[in-house]
Structure formats: structure tokens, C-alpha cells
């Protein structure tokens, strides 16, 4: 890390700061020189065609993939490239996967319980007792994601859309500073999509959020700043209308 980075105002005021990040798999450059800055409290939508590097970017932020080069800083001072997934999660970065990933053999309530912000050590979990405050928080979240009645059902028995919501609920339970949300509206009905957008906007009131999405209607509903990724780097950035007018973006999307 160079000295200049330390005194970079863009860095110190940011929540998440990516600069010149590259990574390659077996010679294929998935991310090349990606730079991105998210301010505290900001909600950002990221779009891009398949293979643009959206998921890999999330992998880098959450510690699943280590970049070959570049800077990834959180809260202006923490170098994320040096931490593993668990440490990054405990810093306050939550992630929702593209394919809804919940614990199929746990009840919905237990899924939330596992995500609930708490000490994560072996000893603490072994002797855990759910306090009243925790229980209230769980009930609140179940209310928000509208699964309160199904709390004792196995998560594996939920519909696709319900699983998406459960996963968002788990993110809420984690109470992270930054949420990474990968295609929350995928496979949802129009009604569900609209409700999800409302839910995300609600969440964005007191959290920073990065949303990766294909569904332009959904992005429009969110009404936030958009970053377009292409072949592993940023192609355009700005409000949706401005971005969608960009000729390069149109070209990339329509494959002309």
C-alpha cells in the first residue's frame, strides 16, 4: 500500500473504497483495474452483462477471493484483503447470494437466530441462551419479512421468493454497516419484486447497500446511483437515466 493512499480524502470519507483491483483465474482476467467508492449511508446499484465481474467483485469485498493487486479498504482504515470471510462479516459487511442460500434444515426462526448480531465464538454459542431482547429482535425481523407465521417451518420448505426474503431478513439480523445484495429480485413475481424494492429502500435508510441486479425496472424503482461494470472494470457511473443513455453501455448490453 502506498503512502498516498493513506491521505486520500476520497478514502478517509468512504465506507468502502476499491482502487485498481485486479484478479484473474487461470489466465482469465475477471476483474481488471476496478475502482469504486461507496459513501456511508449510500445505496448503490451495480449492473452489467453476464461475466462483467459483479459476483467476483462481491467475492473480493467479502474476502472469498483475494485480489492479485489493488486496494480494498473498509471504513477508511481497514484493509479487507488481509481478512477472511468471518472477520469481514464481523466488521459489518453482510452478503446476500445470487442463489438464495438459507439453512434448509433449520427453522426460519433459527435461521434468523444464527444471523443475529452476537458473539460468534465457539464457547459463546455452546452456552448461548436467547435473551428477551434477542427474541424481540427476531420477532421484529420476522415481522418485517412477513414470515412471522411460518417461524417454525423448515427453511427448505419455503418458496423461492420467501427464501430471498428470509435471506434479506438474515442480513437485517446481522445489522451490518454495508449490505451486498446479489440479484434480490431474481425469480420473483412482479408483486414480490415491488415489495422487495420497498423493503430495500427501507433498509437503506440506516445501512449502506450495494445492489447487483439485472432487472432495470427494479433498479428504476430503487432510484439510486448506478455503476455499470463491463469486462471487470467500471464502464459508466451515474443516475440510471444518464447511464442508460450512454452509448457504450447500450452497445455492451445489446451486443452491437
Amino acid at each position: 500500500m502506498s503512502q498516498s493512499v493513506q491521505h486520500n480524502p476520497a478514502l478517509t470519507s468512504s465506507l468502502l473504497y476499491l482502487d485498481g483491483v485486479s484478479v484473474s483465474f487461470d489466465g482469465f482476467k475477471a476483474i481488471r483495474g476496478l475502482s469504486l467508492v461507496i459513501a456511508p449511508g449510500e445505496m448503490r446499484a451495480i449492473i452489467g452483462p453476464n461475466g462483467a465481474g459483479k459476483t467476483t467483485m462481491m467475492d473480493i469485498i467479502t474476502g472469498k477471493t483475494k485480489p492479485d493487486e489493488g486496494t480494498v479498504m473498509f471504513g477508511g482504515s481497514v484493509d479487507l484483503t488481509r481478512l477472511d470471510e468471518a472477520a469481514i462479516a464481523n466488521l459489518g459487511i453482510g452478503r446476500k447470494f445470487q442463489k438464495p442460500t438459507v439453512f434448509d434444515f433449520h427453522t426460519i426462526e433459527d435461521n434468523i437466530l444464527l444471523a443475529l448480531k452476537s458473539q460468534r465464538s465457539v464457547a459463546k454459542t455452546l452456552f448461548w441462551k436467547t435473551a428477551a431482547a434477542n427474541q424481540k429482535r427476531i420477532d421484529d425481523i420476522l415481522g418485517i419479512i412477513k414470515l412471522g407465521d411460518a417461524r417454525n417451518r423448515l427453511a427448505g420448505s419455503l418458496s423461492h421468493g420467501q427464501k430471498q426474503w428470509l435471506e434479506i431478513g438474515m442480513l437485517l439480523a446481522q445489522d451490518p454497516k454495508l449490505l451486498l445484495v446479489d440479484e434480490p429480485a431474481a425469480g420473483m413475481t412482479d408483486g414480490e419484486t415491488a415489495e422487495t424494492a420497498v423493503l430495500l429502500k427501507e433498509i437503506a435508510k440506516d445501512h449502506s447497500v450495494i445492489v447487483v441486479e439485472h432487472d432495470m425496472g427494479f433498479i428504476r424503482e430503487l432510484g439510486v446511483k448506478v455503476t455499470v461494470l463491463h469486462e471487470g472494470s467500471v464502464l459508466a457511473e451515474g443516475p440510471l437515466d444518464q447511464v442508460s443513455a450512454n452509448e457504450r453501455v447500450v452497445e455492451v448490453y445489446l451486443g452491437r
Binding site: 467479502t62 472469498k64 477472511d84 470471510e85 468471518a86 462479516a89 464481523n90 453482510g94 452478503r95 447470494f97 442460500t101 438459507v102 439453512f103 434448509d104 434444515f105 433449520h106 427453522t107 433459527d110 437466530l113 444464527l114 444471523a115 460468534r120 465464538s121 465457539v122 454459542t125 455452546l126 452456552f127 448461548w128 436467547t130 423448515l154 438474515m170 446481522q174
Partner: protein, 380 residues
């Protein structure tokens, strides 16, 4: 108080299991010792020691179920921890022989005398003390599991890779213990035990006590295992089994949880081995054979993985079948029967005996949460 809490937290299946074990622990030794041999309810000593052996296997199966059924770690080397516990106990029993060995050497076990060992190797020190030996029963398998798991889980070795290196571990130990130069009696292992805590190991009362002790340890281990899987840690562990990286993104240090469960399980396996040795009268390196560990996996699968009770049931059923099949007219063909049983169970009873029975029994009731249908952890 604590027992009441446990009983309340326990499902019906667990209660029946515990009651059965408690009954066995009490009634079998009493019937063996007090009733006359001709009586209808008399349990012959041979039957009692046979069931003692089954119950040791059941304990081993429960320990494996804890890591495999709940944490998704398929250990093909659990026999190693069992055997190490057994060796620790065997070393204690060897030291108890004292000068009653065939050569009458007060310090050296017989096999060392006739292979001209000058003095007792350092790692045999202390084993004449029962508390020390019992500590080693827990510590040696536990420590090995801890060190092995520390590396393997931190390096995120998973699925078949992990299974195969656990197999490599037990295979390496098998070869090592076969070597006579190791000072563990080579292929013949440790045998011809005399006393345990001053009681003759072959006396009927000692056997009865060992049987009761096995039941008690099985109950204790079952309660510990139940306690673990019912705690929040247990939920984390199941989460790891079903979606390891999701759990990691929730902020759990997956490697530490796996390490904890793996180490606890290894200690349990060690206890099972320690109880097994005085009852069968021998411990030798073939307990390390990879085939034994694979067979343990099969017991768990047959009984129903992720149920604890099922694992114990599977161990007893398979071993009972083995006892029956290896005698009489079936003797030359029993492998056909056993092999067919394995194929049948995997094909038609993927949830094992317990899971299938439960499905069949309680279609109308809500399903038990902890029974996995598939094996997501190894599918990677």
C-alpha cells in the same frame, strides 16, 4: 435439576434410548450376577460381553455421527481415535500385569522381553496409574484430532479430500503400529490382561461392571452430544454442514467450530476404544485398518445419520447381524448377506433405519428437523 432440564429438552426418541440404556446398565449385570444360569431371564456372561462390545461400537458410531451427521465432515479415519483410546487403556492394563507375565519381568511387558528391549520406552511412563491412563484416553485422540483438524480445517480441506486424508491418517498409523520397533507390541498388539483397578478383568463381576460402565458412558456421551447439537453451537454446526460458505459470511469461524466438534468426537471415540479393550481382551493395529473406519460410517448410514440414536442403533444392528451371520450354515456366505444389506439400505432406505421408520411412523406429525436427505457438504 440438570437432569430434569435435559429430560425436558429431549425428544421422545432420545428418552426411549436413554431409558433403554439405563435399564440395560442396571438389569443385565444384575440378571447375570444374581439369577441362576438356568433361569429364563438369566443373561449369560458371553452374551453380556458381546453386548458390551456392541455398545462400545455404538459409542463410536455416535461420535462419528456427531461430525458426519451434524457437521458434514465424513471422517474415514475415526477408527484411529478409537484405537488410540484403546491403546492407552491397553498400556494401562499391560502395566497392571506387573511380574505376572510369562517372563516375570516386573517392568517390561512380555513382548518387550522377548524382543530384547532393555528398558521401558519413555512413552510408557505413567501408564501404570489409572487416572493418568484415563487422561491419555481422552488426550491422545483429542490432541491428534486437534492438530490434524487445526491444519485441515484452516486450509479448508473439505469433501472427499478431507475423507481421503483422514483415511491416509489412519492408514499411516496402522503401518506405524504394525512396526515392532514402535514398542506397542507390533501385530500381536497388547493382550493377556490380568487386572483393572485391582479386579480380575475376566471375573464375572468385573465384566458386569464394565458392561454397566459402558452403558453409563454411552448415556453420558449421548447427553453431551445431544447437548451440543441442541445448543446454538449445534445449529451453527448444522448450518456449516448445509451451507458452509453462507455460515462463514455470517461471521462464524467455520474452522473453529469444526475443530471443536471434531476434537470432542475424537475424545468420545477414544473413550469407546478404552471401554472396548478390557471387554474383548486385545488391542492390535488392525483396529486402525481403513476398512474398520469405513464400516463405522456404514453403521451410521444404516441407522440413520444426523440422529445420534440411529447411529447407535445402526452399530448394534450391523454387528448383531455379523455375529449371527458368521456362525452356522451362513458362515461361508455371510459377506453376501452383509454386502447386500449395505446396497439395500443405500438404495431403499437413504435415511437409514431410523429415518425411514420415522417417515413411515409419523407421516402426520411434523418432521424432525435434523435429518438430512442428501449430503450437501460432500457434493462440492
Amino acid at each position: 435439576m440438570i437432569t430434569r432440564f435435559l429430560i425436558q429438552g429431549m425428544d421422545k426418541r432420545g428418552l426411549v434410548f436413554l431409558a433403554l440404556l439405563a435399564g440395560l446398565a442396571l438389569l443385565v449385570p444384575l440378571s447375570n450376577l444374581l439369577l441362576p444360569p438356568g433361569s429364563f431371564l438369566h443373561v449369560p456372561t458371553s452374551t453380556m460381553s458381546l453386548w458390551g462390545k456392541y455398545l462400545c461400537y455404538a459409542l463410536l458410531a455416535i461420535s462419528l455421527d456427531l461430525v458426519w451427521g451434524y457437521c458434514g465432515i465424513l471422517s474415514l479415519g475415526h477408527g484411529a481415535f478409537f484405537a488410540l483410546g484403546g491403546y492407552a487403556m491397553g498400556m494401562y492394563l499391560m502395566r497392571q500385569i506387573g511380574s505376572r507375565g510369562v517372563y516375570g519381568n516386573p517392568i517390561l511387558p512380555d513382548f518387550m522381553v522377548f524382543l530384547n528391549w532393555g528398558e521401558l520406552p519413555w512413552y510408557w511412563y505413567g501408564f501404570s496409574s489409572f487416572p493418568f491412563a484415563m487422561l491419555m484416553v481422552l488426550l491422545v485422540p483429542g490432541l491428534l484430532a486437534f492438530v490434524f483438524g487445526w491444519f485441515a480445517f484452516r486450509s479448508r480441506v473439505t469433501g472427499v479430500y478431507l475423507s481421503i486424508i483422514t483415511q491416509a491418517l489412519t492408514y499411516a498409523l496402522l503401518l506405524a503400529f504394525f512396526r515392532n520397533d514402535m514398542g506397542f507390541g507390533g501385530n500381536n498388539g497388547l493382550t493377556d490382561f490380568k487386572d483393572i483397578l485391582g479386579f480380575n478383568v475376566q471375573a464375572q463381576t468385573t465384566r458386569a461392571a464394565l458392561f454397566a460402565m459402558t452403558c453409563v458412558m454411552l448415556i453420558a456421551s449421548f447427553l453431551i452430544a445431544r447437548g451440543i447439537v441442541d445448543s446454538k453451537l449445534g445449529k451453527v454446526v448444522i448450518a456449516i454442514r448445509d451451507a458452509e460458505s453462507r455460515t462463514r459470511f455470517l461471521g462464524y469461524r467455520v474452522d473453529r467450530f469444526k475443530l471443536f466438534v471434531f476434537t470432542v468426537s475424537a475424545c468420545m471415540a477414544g473413550v469407546a476404544g478404552a471401554l472396548y479393550v478390557p471387554q474383548v481382551g486385545i488391542i492390535n493395529p488392525s483396529e486402525f485398518a481403513p476398512a474398520n473406519s469405513i464400516e463405522t460410517v456404514i453403521w451410521v448410514a444404516i441407522g440413520g445419520r444426523g440422529t445420534l440414536v440411529g447411529a447407535a442403533l445402526g452399530a448394534v444392528v450391523v454387528n448383531y447381524a455379523k455375529t449371527v451371520f458368521t456362525s452356522g450354515f451362513m458362515a461361508p456366505y455371510w459377506l453376501f448377506a452383509l454386502g447386500a444389506l449395505f446396497v439395500f439400505v443405500t438404495l431403499f432406505m437413504p435415511k437409514g433405519i431410523l429415518g425411514t421408520a420415522q417417515d413411515w411412523w409419523g407421516k402426520r406429525r411434523k418432521p424432525e428437523p435434523a435429518t438430512p436427505v442428501a449430503e450437501p457438504a460432500a457434493a462440492e
